[in-house]
């Protein structure tokens, strides 16, 4: 494993083995304390901070030669940053890559959890910009670490309560805070809250990497993940009025695509792999056939 791949002159999956061991130790600690943010010595990576350096380091540390890697951004395998990260690992690790959720052993994601249910043995790696759920309530790391240590989450509940008092709703729509295994409040990364229920009792291992902020945290398989809410204001996910225009899927997260400047628009699956599989199975949406040929 330590032999440099002849094509790039870099070690397998870019990072040297010492660094990978350091990251794996952080990952193991994170798994042992679900939802706890473990500091790690994040390395400088050849892509910018804020563009997935944490996720890339976690993926590099866990990737083996027989893994099958899927990378998505906004639910799609074909957005520019997903293409770039997939190409990075195809080049530095020479692993098989896929777009099919069920075939992947490691899925690196930014902002979405795939629609297809994950299964045991899979690892979902999240790219995290701000790992601290309390950061926008308390900017100081020294303070927030104490609040976590004391499980003092009153600030967060007051914030959610103020939302309700002001807007009638909890106005957090993504990066919606969750409580993990009844202990730590955790930031699920900026996934829409639509995806929060998928984290609960998930059979796959969920790992979170924040490169710039130098933190790793984890949700082990089959762990309770509860979105914060109140008895009289239970947690609710977004719902869409229309099904996907391409595959007719309902109960999935949709992207709004503007068709012209006169307000014409259509809603399509954010998870492109899910949409393509459904269409391959013969599902057709209301606006699917014409637009797909444009």
């Amino acid at each position: 494993m330590s032999a440099a791949t002849p094509e790039t002159g870099y070690n397998f999956a870019y990072l040297d083995e010492g660094t990978k061991r350091m990251i794996r130790r952080a990952i193991l600690k994170a798994i042992a304390i679900p939802g706890y943010q473990v500091p790690f010595a994040s390395r400088e990576m050849p892509m910018p901070y804020g563009w997935g350096t944490g996720g890339v380091q976690v993926t590099a540390a866990i990737l083996g030669k027989r893994d099958v890697l899927k990378v998505i951004d906004q639910g799609s395998d074909d957005t520019t940053n997903a293409v770039s990260i997939r190409a990075f690992f195809a080049r530095t690790a020479d692993v098989a890559v896929t777009t099919r959720t069920r075939d992947a052993t490691v899925i690196q994601t930014r902002h979405r959890i795939p629609e297809a249910p994950l299964h045991e043995g899979q690892v979902l790696v999240y790219q995290v910009p701000i790992p601290e759920p309390l950061r926008f309530l308390e900017p100081r790391e020294t303070e927030t670490r104490q609040l976590h240590a004391l499980a003092e989450y009153g600030l967060m509940h007051v914030k959610l309560y103020e939302d309700i008092a002001r807007h009638g709703h909890i106005a957090t729509t993504y990066a919606y805070p969750v409580e993990v295994a009844g202990r730590y409040v955790m930031d699920p990364s900026p996934t829409p809250k639509f995806d929060n229920p998928k984290m609960d009792d998930c059979p796959a291992l969920q790992l979170f990497g924040a490169g710039r902020e130098k933190r790793i945290y984890a949700v082990p398989p089959h762990t309770r993940v509860r979105s914060l809410d109140f008895e009289d204001h239970p947690f609710r996910v977004q719902s869409f009025d229309t099904p996907c225009a391409l595959c007719g899927a309902e109960g999935v997260y949709l992207d709004e695509v503007l068709l012209d400047d006169a307000g014409k628009r259509m809603f399509v699956c954010s998870d492109t792999d899910h949409c393509e599989e459904r269409r391959a199975d013969g599902h057709v949406g209301t606006g699917g056939m014409e637009t797909a040929h444009v």
């Binding site: 400088e44 910018p48 901070y49 906004q74 520019t80 910009p129 020294t142 709703h169 729509t173 637009t291």
Partner: protein
Amino acid sequence: MYVAVKGGEAAIANAHRLLAETRRGDTAVPELSVAQIREQMALLVDRVMTEGSLHDPDLAALALKQARGDLIEAVFLVRAYRTTLPRFGASEPVETGAMTLRRRISATYKDLPGGQVLGPTFDYTHRLVDFALAAEGEAPVAAEAEPLPDAAHAPRVTDLLGNAGLIEPSAPDDGTPPADLTREPLDFPADRALRLQALARGDEGFVLALGYSTQRGYGRTHPFVGEIRVGTVAVEFVPEELGFAVPLGEIDLTECQMVNQFHGSAEVPPQFTRGYGLAFGQSERKAMAMALVDRALRAEELGEPIGAPAQDQEFVLAHCDALQATGFVEHLKLPHYVDFQAELELVLRLRAEHAARHATPQTEMKEAAE
């Protein structure tokens, strides 16, 4: 229409080819060589090395060429290369007191052992554009140099002050190897060694502005430039199998020692305190700014009231790195439509509820006003 959001792979490849062509510019103009950048853009090379935390003038010059002269992009290339380099170990501390001097000035003494040596400096030049430089001509020749003071005769100003007990002693070396910012996660509160590491690789503009803010009253430190010295020092390393130091080579450094006021406390008599700056090559502005901020960040240790941004280590250390800053600012270019959709849905719902709530009274008010 849906096709428009696909096709990222081909678009990226084409954009990168266009970048390569744009980088080269007009092919009728001769291509810049790395050696030309290294020799003639030397201060820029020094800055890339300093913020890139890697002393390699050729690599820094190449990075500048590849980055089309974008400073932070060049620092980025150097850092991403540095992170893959194996560590053999740490060198011995460099002895700046034994520096082969090229420039050495003090603002606290008119004259001092070793004298004031201006060296190659923009100071006291008139900033008039020299149009003669646009025409290529004979290489300029420097005036005959006086023999420079040798190190033994140009002791550090802080040592002179220290001998008289007027300045706090440097913390003695207790043998603990300093922590490494690039190998361990930053933990607050960070000790001075770690803070200095962060400032050394911090963005010059950011550190400069913070240093400036202390001069304008946001955490005043009453600084004097005790000394700035620019020159060459030897780097030595002790290989385990030998057990004694062997020279690895020489590097150029700029060191700034700020001398700051301190009124004393119950235990400590009034004396001057230190702020320290060190940078690769000739990087005086950076070394000075770093020394100001270093001193400001010692406010807690010295029992001074804390309130200014430059005294707040969480604020300074978390934001001084240009790569972290630029990465996170520029990541806003990445698609965010999933989150935007979630916000859009909420805004639409809130607007609908707002409209329903205000529909009747608002129309009445409008009519009354009109």
